[in-house]
């Protein structure tokens, strides 16, 4: 543990926060410097400030609105479907121990499979539209929600289930008043992971399959040597990923603290 600190009266959490901010700002400034002084060649990378300006311009000019909407709707759909399917399947599997044991190796290996190999299959099945992209997002994100659901349901303390009988609750009441609230932190983690995976799956799919959206925008800009646009879009994707996941993480931490798990 670090003894003391430079700023007396500043809590450790605050110091960590400020240090992190300083590191991020420092890295961005360093990148800016390296690009401006051409240590990093302009053909390789443009300064972060130029990226930001270009992004602002693209948004203001409405040039990427369609792409943003397309990606957002794909991610949103994939997220919603995988959360619902993941929860339902997870609850089902958790309740059937034999099925669970049989499926376990499958789930454990799920993320070892390079899913992009199925892209052409999905295109052939669904056509050259948004469905293959949503499908990839769902395939990526559902197991994460399943695993989190199973973990949450596993961890409902047995004594609380006994309590449900003491209070003479019906099965439905038990699920609503005891099982779900007890499993809530794990379910929320599943939500957070599902979003991250749906986002990654959709963007990766757009990049590889050329169907529109931000991922495709990046690939197209790269191939057309439009560096500014390419980096602007990358910045956007970066900011959205960090922003949404960061927000969900903070919320998750707050819930955990209330339960004494922090």
């Amino acid at each position: 543990m670090n003894p003391g600190g430079h700023a007396p009266g500043l809590s450790r959490a605050a110091r960590i926060g400020w240090t992190r901010t300083a590191v991020v700002v420092g890295l961005v400034l360093l990148l800016e410097l390296l690009c401006r002084t051409h240590v990093i060649k302009p053909l390789t990378m443009i300064p972060p400030s130029v990226m930001a300006v270009e992004l602002g311009r693209l948004i203001a000019a409405g040039e990427i609105t369609d792409d943003i909407l397309q990606t957002a709707s794909e991610v949103g759909t994939a997220f919603a479907v995988s959360v619902l399917a993941g929860f339902a399947l997870g609850a089902l599997v958790q309740a059937l121990p034999r099925v669970r044991r049989a499926i376990d190796p499958l789930l454990a290996s799920w993320y070892a499979v390079p899913f992009f190999v199925f892209y052409p299959l999905l295109v052939a099945l669904f056509g050259m539209n948004v469905l293959p992209l949503i499908a990839i997002g769902v395939v990526f994100a559902t197991p994460a929600m399943m695993l989190s659901t199973i973990a949450g349901l596993d961890r409902v303390p047995r004594v609380l289930r006994k309590l449900a009988r003491v209070h003479r609750m019906s099965p439905l009441q038990e699920v609503a008043l005891i099982t779900l609230p007890s499993a809530a932190p794990h379910l929320f983690t599943g939500l957070k992971l599902s979003f991250a995976y749906a986002f990654i799956g959709v963007i990766a799919g757009e990049f590889i399959l050329s169907g529109g959206g931000l991922g495709y925008g990046i690939a197209y800009a790269y191939e057309s040597f439009e560096n500014r646009k390419m980096y602007a879009l990358m910045l956007l994707v970066l900011l959205v990923a960090i922003g949404v996941n960061g927000a969900l993480h903070v919320w998750e931490a707050r819930l955990a603290r209330r339960r004494g798990h922090a």
Binding site: P157, R158, K162, H167, R168, P181, A184, R258, R259, G260
Partner: protein, 269 residues
């Protein structure tokens, strides 16, 4: 048989020829046969070696578990399949809901029963005050110590105004000093509510100081090998340890229990 029927109607709860065998490839005869009455307003403790079936006894009496043979009654009505109205249970593990504040935890049963808000508020306020939780009414269980969380569970049971309170080693996870103080609170609760109390405990001193009667169980399958009447006055607290009678009771409990405890360990070793 008629004298039994009379006895049944006086007793608050009865167990007659109750056994409990857990089914399976090798069935486990966990409990019984048990024959015991709990009188109205009595404080009855059960002690015994580990694995003797004390918790099973509580489960059967509460209706959480069905006896394999025999029958159970509460207020002259048979107990089967579900927990009867008027019976409250406090478990050894922390059963407070981590997602509710202390206040909402205590109000839980009342709100579910559809009690109207003013009466709920009144009862919850009383129970929280009674259990010394007023300063923590809006805290979450995670912010409280183990003893306080157990008080939340007791308060939650208290508001439902149970006529029979079953406690399964409620203070098992607490240190000795806290246990003694919680014992005093339990006695206060008992006197205030006029309920009958069944306390399962492995601590002989606790059973000796709190109870009107103590049942000593044998090693598995548990049957009662001794029933000790303490004869304490109703107005008592933990300072009863200085009464010479306390030593006598504890000594008698241990002399009955020692051989059984050794059997239980010998079986496990």
């Amino acid at each position: 048989m008629s004298s039994n029927a009379e006895a049944d109607s006086l007793a608050h709860a009865t167990l007659r020829a109750v056994t409990r065998t857990y089914p399976g490839a090798r069935p486990v005869h966990a409990l019984g046969p048990i024959d015991v009455d709990i009188a109205r307003g009595e404080f009855f403790s059960v002690v015994g070696p580990s694995g003797c079936g004390k918790s099973t006894l509580l489960d059967v009496l509460a209706g959480l578990s069905a006896p394999t043979t025999g029958h159970v009654t509460f207020e002259s009505k048979p107990v089967a399949g579900q927990v009867p109205d008027g019976v409250g249970v406090v478990f050894q593990e922390d059963a407070s809901f981590p997602w509710l504040t202390v206040h909402d935890n205590v109000a839980f049963g009342l709100r579910r029963a559809g009690m109207e808000a003013a009466e709920t508020a009144r009862r919850v306020d009383y129970a929280i005050g009674f259990m010394g939780l007023r300063d923590f009414a809006h805290a979450y269980p995670a912010q409280l110590s183990g003893g306080m969380r157990q008080r939340v569970c007791i308060a939650r049971t208290l508001v439902l105004q149970p006529r029979l309170i079953l406690l399964d080693e409620p203070f098992g996870a607490l240190d000795q000093q806290t246990r003694l103080l919680m014992g005093d609170e339990l006695l206060r609760l008992w006197r205030e509510t006029g309920a009958s109390v069944l306390l399962i405990t492995h601590a002989l001193d606790e059973a000796a100081m709190l109870s009107d009667r103590v049942g000593v169980m044998s090693a598995r399958p548990g049957v009662f090998i001794d029933l000790v009447t303490t004869g304490w006055a109703r107005e008592r607290d933990s300072r009863i340890v200085s009464d010479p009678g306390f030593g006598v009771v504890t000594a008698r409990l241990w002399s009955s229990l020692r051989a059984e405890s050794m059997k239980a360990i010998g079986r496990e070793a």
